[in-house]
Amino acid sequence: MEKAIEVKNLTKIYKGGIVAVNNISFYVNKGEIFGFLGPNGAGKSTTIKVLIGLLRPTRGELFLNGVDIVKHPEQIKRDTGYAAQETAIDDRLTCLENIYLQGRFYHLSREEIEKRSEEVLKMFDLFDRKNNLALTFSGGMLKRLDIAEALIHRPKVLFLDEPTLGLDVQTRQTIWEYIRNLRRRNQMTIFLTTHYMEEADALCDRVAVIDEGKIKAIDSPENLKQQIGGDIITVNFSEVSNGKIQKVLGEVRQIPQVKKVNLGRDKIYQIVVSQRGDKIIPEIFSISQRNGININSIRLKRPSLEDVYLHFTGRTIQEKEESRESLIKTRIMKRKLRR
């Protein structure tokens, strides 16, 4: 498959000596939705800024559709769209004025801009509000307008830095829908960053787990989950006799997909299976029945990207993100103050 983005041994060290990105390599296929998943300060935004030519890499080679990003930054700018982490909308201009100027900065003609802005504004449900000042827009609308602007010149590769930061669940899902549509209708390659597990899971074909400037794992969400072990079935037997239970568990161990049986307290056992836990559950039932044991409850848990994250970084994302809430709060405060 053809590669839209190729990064080899990228390192970015900021002036103060902060190593934001530490020798990472990866590629993104054409037409793929690729995600960078990581906590605050992992180096996600830095990577994007280097890829669109806003920052110079300290070391490393970068290619966009085969063009060297460091040597020909002007050339790649026409092919990339960028919606920054913080929405960059001039709120003293109207929605249409914002997008019109963006089109002009990409050297489009008035006719082209008029046609395309109608198209993208309709797509993002902003067309009815096109003549309103951006000042009157909600956070979700601003974010949508920002992404719409990034599309006005029909980029081949779209970079979205935390496209759903600070938005509520509903708005987040509509934005996911827009992103999926973009890929489906325009075969666009999309590189996005996020620290939401569900987002990476719901959207991305492949995900890179990044932490402290290093890539810890890259694969499809499914494969990443597979790597850390399969589904976990938790069973609670109602039988008192340990002997009978051991007999059942012995038979369960015979099922080929069962990898491990963990002894739990209070007759609760964890059965780790390599795949398709939902198909194993009926078998466990029939084995228990044959041995005359009743099951109080049974639960199937698929590993989440959360578990993947824990596996590859040794931390839950929350541990790294304690200050996330307060960070978002101060950002919202700042935004209000600016008005």
């Binding site: 806003l54 920052l55 709120d91």
Partner: protein
């Protein structure tokens, strides 16, 4: 080159939309010269009754003398907006957006300068109109007024060049305002904008003679009070144009470097 000009226009266009949309600012643009000219001119009107003062001013009324000073003062302070708007754009991420787009980087400072120049020109037109209503007679007529506007625009270009260059180094509003004021106030008060050089103490007169503000004021005053005194105007205008070129180049250089870390 064509791109630089076209891109600059769109950068300026954005500022101009906002300029015309801010009603309070537009009102201030009219009210401020009205107060300065009306109040100050009236307060000081008695001064020309004193023949020595009248000779020092070289004008029939203090208002005639002061109008060129007010014109300069207005464009002087207008030039600061260029730098402030860059800092604003950096805050809201708009600067990053501009840098990520394929526009010529030089269009960012140039566009801001062009918008300052246009805004300055509008303000000068308003001042000239108000001054005329208050009885100031521009000796060189409509063409003289056009040249006055041009000189004011060229002068505002120096100031926006300066403030834009500073804004590429200084990242906060407060610091920029402090630094700009540090230049602005002395520039204003060591010039002949409000007082004639002949009444100044020697040391101040020496500074006032080389102060670029005085150069512009002298030319505009010549056109307002006396006539087409090219001998006064040409040398001053040349120096202003040289300063323009210097500051445009410095601000261009500053922005070619912007965010390339």
């Amino acid at each position: 080159m064509i791109n630089l000009i076209v891109d600059s226009w769109w950068v300026a266009y954005r500022e101009l939309i906002k300029f015309f949309r801010q009603r309070t600012r537009l009102i201030m643009v009219v009210v401020q010269p009205l107060i300065w000219l009306g109040l100050m001119g009236n307060m000081m009107s008695g001064i020309t009754n004193n023949p020595i003062a009248a000779r020092a001013l070289g004008a029939k009324s203090y208002l005639d003398f002061m109008t060129p000073g007010i014109i300069l003062m207005t464009v002087l302070f207008g030039g600061v907006f260029g730098g402030l708007s860059i800092i604003w754009d950096r805050r809201i991420g708009y600067l990053e957006k501009l840098l990520a787009s394929p526009i010529n980087r030089g269009a960012i400072p140039l566009g801001k300068s062009i918008s300052s120049m246009i805004q300055g020109a509008i303000q000068v037109v308003i001042i000239v109109a108000i001054a005329s209503l208050l009885g100031v007679h521009f000796q060189t007529g409509i063409f003289g007024i056009l040249l006055i506007i041009l000189i004011a625009m060229l002068f505002s270009l120096i100031l926006s060049g300066l403030s834009l260059t500073l804004a590429s180094i200084i990242k906060t509003h407060e610091t920029l305002m402090a630094v700009v004021n540090f230049f602005m106030m002395p520039l204003m008060f060591t010039s002949n904008a409000l007082f004639p050089i002949t009444v100044m103490p020697k040391w101040l007169a020496a500074i006032a003679k080389v102060n670029p503000v005085s150069l512009a004021v002298t030319s505009i005053r010549e056109l307002t009070i006396h006539g087409w005194g090219w001998r006064e105007i040409l040398p001053s205008l040349s120096i202003i144009i040289i300063l323009d070129i210097v500051f445009i180049l410095i601000s261009q250089f500053a922005f070619q470097r912007e965010t390339v870390e």
